[in-house]
């Protein structure tokens, strides 16, 4: 079957791409001056030459570059991401520990941004020059351009310090005792501020896109026909126009897959959210090559799988794409 062959080719390219990502990043990490032995010495308040040499020997950092790269790739091919130099733990378990928290935050933030963004977009599309529309433009541009760590701190000052509604840091209160619902509610309380902060970046994209797309749809012939039939404004907007205006929004949501890690790094740091973002940030500072590469591997994998899925679904849905490479 043609579709199958195309898919196999795609997977083959995906694996090549993944390897290229690893080799490139491994090389870049290697080219930077200094290594993890320096950051380990930093965490110890200094270490003598003997200790430094021992650390480098322990982690094979004293071997030639090609040998290091070769042994790393050899392990990755056997699905072994190695051992974190800095955290003294297998990289895979380190990442799997953090992945759920990040996924939870990122998907909630995306959902929040999408729903609120579309609602704001539709509202402003109906009266493009109204005060409300200008307000929405302002809010979304503000969210898009303000640095997230700043937005985060402002929200913290407002809603954790001045009005003490939400906790400052972390994902749950470990001192809290209670059953499943108490714990769930606690996690939700911890999620509100990070979700708004992270969502605010994407909010602008969704609201602008849905506004433009909605305005275009509202000007089209079938909407005029629907209005001519005597349907109410509400029915026209929400039943007829919105459905069609949503498709670019859904495409955008698919594309945002790659923003999973990058957006989370700063937000997670501000709110001490125990996810992949903080791990990535700390590992980069610590020059913990296996962990950084492991995270890159996971995120590249996520993006590639996401793209493959989108591709596959599109092929099934849209007959025009069948058989094209």
């Amino acid at each position: 079957m043609n579709a199958l062959r195309v898919t196999t080719t795609r997977i083959f390219y995906a694996v090549l791409l993944l390897l290229a990502v690893l080799v490139l990043n491994f090389t870049m990490m290697h080219l930077a001056p200094g290594d993890v032995a320096d950051t380990i010495a930093q965490s110890m308040g200094g270490a003598d030459e003997e200790t430094m040499a021992q650390i480098r020997a322990d982690y094979g950092l004293d071997k030639p570059f090609i040998v290091q790269l070769g042994s790393y790739l050899g392990r990755v091919i056997r699905f072994d991401l190695g051992y974190s130099f800095y955290y003294n733990q297998p990289v895979t378990s380190l990442i799997l520990q953090r992945l759920p928290a990040t996924l939870l935050l990122v998907f909630t933030a995306q959902l929040f941004a999408m729903i609120v963004g579309v609602v704001l977009g539709v509202i402003s599309a109906r009266r493009p020059n109204g005060i409300l529309s200008h307000f929405v433009t302002f809010i979304s541009l503000f969210g898009y351009s303000a640095p997230v760590f700043w937005t985060g701190i402002l929200l913290l000052i407002a809603f954790s310090l001045k009005i003490q509604w939400f906790p400052v840091a972390g994902m749950r209160d470990v001192t809290l005792e209670g059953g499943f619902w108490v714990q769930t509610l606690d996690i939700i309380r911890h999620m509100v501020l990070p979700t708004i902060t992270l969502g605010s970046i994407f909010l602008a994209l969704y609201s602008r896109l849905s506004r433009a797309s909605m305005m275009e749809t509202l000007g089209s012939d079938y909407v005029r026909t629907a209005k001519a039939k005597g349907l109410t404004e509400r029915e026209v907007v929400y039943k007829h126009a919105l459905k069609n205006a949503l498709s670019p929004v859904i495409t955008l949501a698919g594309l945002q897959f790659s923003a999973v890690i990058s957006g989370a790094v700063l937000v997670e740091t501000v709110f001490a959210w125990p996810g992949l973002g903080t791990l990535a940030f700390q590992s980069i500072l610590a020059r913990d090559t296996p962990t950084i590469l492991g995270i890159l591997f996971f995120s590249a994998l996520m993006v590639i799988v996401g793209n493959l899925l989108t591709d596959f679904v599109l092929r099934l849905v849209d007959p025009r794409l069948k058989g094209r490479a």
């Binding site: 930077a32 200094g34 965490s43 322990d58 400052v168 840091a169 972390g170 020059r287």
Partner: protein, 525 residues
């Protein structure tokens, strides 16, 4: 019960004498969960025998006890060793251990474990000078350990306290696996301290629980300690203010310190950091260019207004430092050249050194911005200050610690701010910066390339001098010489502060801040 009545009586007496002032000392209360922030982020390992640093120190000193602890006056106090003896020649140090002390699995703590711990620390701890003179450890009986030294070693007392000498169980770590990467360093930890490990989640928290079998009756007071990892200092400050955490240690951002000082619910103090002994300074590479000249280095010191840095940049949160020994240390002497701002003198010295002003300029220098946060403003200030005496400074920034560490380690720099820790005794954390045998051996070695025979001699002599007055005099001479020759221009003690809620009783005292047992901390109602 009896104790409490006595305290009540004392309290009422004091209250009576002080005419109505509310002075009654609170009676420590058992129970409760103390929430603190873990200084320095996620620790690599929880076992201080193989890893130093403040991140390991905080949970590490709760999990593992050391033979001694230190009070506020730098006097050693009994801890796991109920008493100790130093022989007259200083070559034998005998520790008498608490007889009912046990590890968290119930096994008694014996002299065998002490001998084993010394072995592991000697081999794997990054501070080799701590136990280098310890040749062997004799164990005449279960509760007596005798450390045999090749030379007298006064630094040993401090090296047996805080996080520097964790007593670890031989029956766990002596199983032949590499103690550095031992699986029990982070999981199922069997410690000797007042608290045992419940959970360690990197990036999230370390949870500790009262060890019921702790040898000292009634201690620790707390049921639990939750050490949370919050890397963002602004978020930590807000968490302190809204009560989400009770205490944060090693806070050193001047704006945050000053802001929290005005919060009536919080106490802010810089007490307790003398042992760690962190000092901010300007390092000068004495091995090349104009900086080889003592007069040039002195001129630079005179051209920098230390007061401006202390008042405007540190906002009054930091104490002045004049030497490489922390101002809180009993070995510190302030009686050295202070280099108060004097541009005329600076210009004169530069002229004398043979660098006359030509077209408004004398020579060029580079200055490195350290690869850790907090020194950008100081660096920019030094550039501006030195331009006034005709030294053209180029600022070189580094993206992270290793990049900067390489430049320092290879001595490929002229000037750089740096922050270096004393770690108790000069032998442990000070000598490394000045000994000519330690030139250019990586970051935080003698990166200045400073070599002075008399300094080498003094440091060697002081390392084995058992008479504390004589030792103090030696270190005073050392501080004078170095201040005179300025391989380093000392600025200030790092303004490390402990910030705690008024609900916390007995916050960390002594000289090791949070790298000391919290068995006496309690929570008020």
């Amino acid at each position: 019960m009896k104790l409490r009545t006595k305290n009540l009586l004392a309290a009422s007496l004091i209250a009576a004498f002080s005419a109505g002032a509310a002075v009654a000392q609170d009676t420590p209360k058992a129970g409760g969960t103390l929430v603190v922030s873990l200084p320095g982020g996620t620790p690599r390992v929880l076992n201080p025998a193989v890893q130093s640093g403040t991140a390991t120190g905080m949970p590490g000193t709760q999990l593992f006890a050391s033979p001694l602890r230190y009070d506020d006056d730098w006097t050693p106090q009994p801890y796991l060793a109920k008493s100790w003896e130093v022989s007259d020649d200083g070559l034998k140090v005998t520790l008498y251990l608490q007889e009912n002390a046990t590890f968290h699995d119930g096994t008694p703590i014996t002299s065998e474990d002490v001998a084993f711990s010394v072995d592991v620390i000697k081999q794997y701890h990054p501070f080799k000078s701590m136990f280098a003179p310890v040749e062997s450890v004799d164990t005449p009986d279960e509760h007596t350990a005798v450390l045999n030294l090749t030379t007298p070693h006064p630094a040993l007392m401090l090296a047996m306290s805080g996080q520097l000498m964790a007593i670890i169980p031989k029956h766990i770590y002596g199983d032949g696996q590499d103690p550095k990467n031992h699986p029990r360093n982070n999981e199922n930890v069997v410690g000797s301290g007042p608290f045992k490990l419940v959970e360690f989640k990197p990036g999230e928290h370390v949870i500790l629980e009262r060890y019921e079998g702790y040898w000292e009756e009634g201690l620790p007071y707390l049921d639990r300690i939750v050490a949370r990892i919050i890397n963002d200092s602004s978020a930590r400050a807000i968490a302190l203010q809204n009560g989400e955490i009770h205490m944060a240690t090693f806070e050193s951002e001047p704006t945050i310190i000053n802001r929290l000082k005005s919060d009536a619910e919080l106490t802010v103090t810089k007490e307790g950091y003398g042992g760690i002994g962190a000092i901010d300074w300007l390092a000068m590479n004495t091995t090349h260019g104009p900086l080889q000249e003592v007069k040039v280095r002195q001129a630079i010191a005179y051209a920098i207004d230390k007061n401006f840095i202390l008042k405007a940049l540190m906002r009054g949160t930091a104490d002045e430092a004049r030497t490489g020994i922390h101002p809180d240390s009993p070995l510190y002497t302030p009686d050295v050249e202070a280099y108060d701002l004097d541009l005329d003198k600076a210009n004169a010295l530069l002229d004398e050194a043979g660098y006359p002003l030509e077209n408004g300029k004398r020579f060029d220098l580079n200055i490195e911005v350290p690869g850790f946060p907090g020194y950008k403003a100081q660096t920019e200030y030094v550039k501006a200050a030195l331009s006034k005496v005709g030294i053209n400074v180029t600022v070189r920034a580094h993206p992270d610690f290793p990049s900067w560490a390489q430049v320092m380690g290879n001595m490929d720099f002229d000037l750089s701010f740096d922050s270096v820790y004393n770690w108790g005794d000069p032998v442990i954390g000070v000598n490394r910066t000045y000994l000519s045998s330690n030139i250019g051996k990586g970051v935080w070695s003698n990166t200045q390339g400073y070599a002075n025979e008399r300094v080498d001699e003094i440091l060697a002599q002081a390392a084995t001098e058992m008479d504390s007055e004589k030792r103090k005099a030696l270190y005073a001479e050392f501080q004078e010489i170095v201040a005179e020759e300025v391989p380093i221009y000392y600025i200030n003690a790092v303004p490390q502060h402990t910030i705690y809620s008024n609900k916390v009783g007995n916050p960390p005292q002594g000289i090791w801040a949070s790298s000391s047992p919290m068995d006496r901390i309690y929570l008020k109602d």
